[in-house]
Amino acid sequence: MSDDAADVQRVLAGDVDAYAALVDRYYDRCARFAVRMLGNRDDAEDALQATFIRAYRALNRYQERDRFSAWLYRILVNQCRSVAARRTHRERVFVREEALLANAPDRSQGWAGEDEEFVQRVLNELDPLLREAFLLKYIEEMSYEEMSALTGVGVSALKMRAKRACDRLRERWEKIKND
């Protein structure tokens, strides 16, 4: 039995702390997908909370033969879609510019991993379905079969979306470069 399955069993037996272990194992990776998909941390936190709560409620339906990560991601992808649908305006990617200025890292270090706003902006410009396919394929590094299982979309359609996402990024770069 995998660690995930063992933890699920413990939760179902009444040990809520075992769920904290599952959260610890998957939160960061899910957070990366949620932020990249939704474009800002506030919405991402909403989606993450909804995902893990739903997963908790549905643990009694989890089948050990499913990979827990795939099962969880199915919920995550759909929660991100729900959060996105509820939004009515385009969000700014980053917040607290003043804090960023005040807490600017040592300049000799150059930009750090969290200074990713320009990458996020580029991703935000992709149509959400293309962005989703791009993230699942090239950031989460899933196979098309895995992606198909969790999105319910056919493999060839997913391949088309991922390819189109790459095409759009390239086209956008050509425009940026020549401006």
Binding site: L48, Y62, R65, E116, L169
Partner: protein, 200 residues
């Protein structure tokens, strides 16, 4: 990525997007607080059966007589496999958005000739470098007269940053001009305001 998708730019985007994302420090605590407020989920009959089947179907070192093997196989076929897929609402709809249209500010166009002077008695050559010559280190050499180096340049009205480069390597600000904040490269530029209500 496949060859058709290969592009160093797209690969770079993917690489950057794979970096970890730091969430608010309290996010996980808030999540677990919400989880603890939920009723504890209980194992359902379906999942017990499904899991039991799963464990039963896993390879084991068990030796059965042919008769018992046949009986076991028949029993397995007789048990219905219940696949409980998690159904979630797919109410997401793609929201196409357009980036806002860039606004273009136009600077007033008027050239004023401005004289720059810099005292550097032991320099061999001095150049003036700034935003008005796109920070090109060699395009505006200064002329020496005694220990003072001078040049007159046309400048558009507005705010300009500049510095002097001595002997091709040493950057000096103008001691008599207002300073810009740290340039981010370990130096400080000087500021000149031209034709915008300035006096000097």
């Amino acid at each position: 990525m496949t060859d058709s998708e290969h592009s160093s730019y797209v690969e770079w985007i993917a690489r950057e997007a794979r970096r970890p994302v730091v969430m608010d420090a309290g996010a996980r605590d808030r999540l677990m607080a919400a989880v603890r407020a939920e009723p504890v989920p209980h194992r359902s009959f379906v999942s017990r059966v499904g899991n039991a089947f799963q464990r039963f179907a896993e390879p084991r070192s068990l030796t059965l007589s042919p008769a018992r093997s046949t009986l076991l196989a028949a029993g397995l076929v007789g048990i219905g496999v219940f696949a409980g897929a998690v159904m979630t609402n797919r109410d997401g709809r793609p929201t196409a958005g357009q980036p806002p249209v860039a606004a273009v500010s136009k600077l007033p166009v008027s050239d004023t000739f401005v004289k720059f002077s810099f005292v550097a008695p032991s320099a061999k050559h001095v150049t003036l470098v700034g935003d008005f010559n796109d920070w090109d280190v060699s395009s505006t050499p200064m002329t020496r007269s005694g220990s003072v180096w001078t040049v007159v340049v046309p400048m558009t009205a507005g705010r300009h940053q500049y510095s002097y480069v001595v002997d091709g390597k040493s950057w000096s600000s103008d001691p008599n001009a207002p300073s810009a904040p740290d340039d981010g490269f370990g130096h400080t530029n000087s500021v000149k305001i031209v034709g915008r209500g300035s006096t000097s």
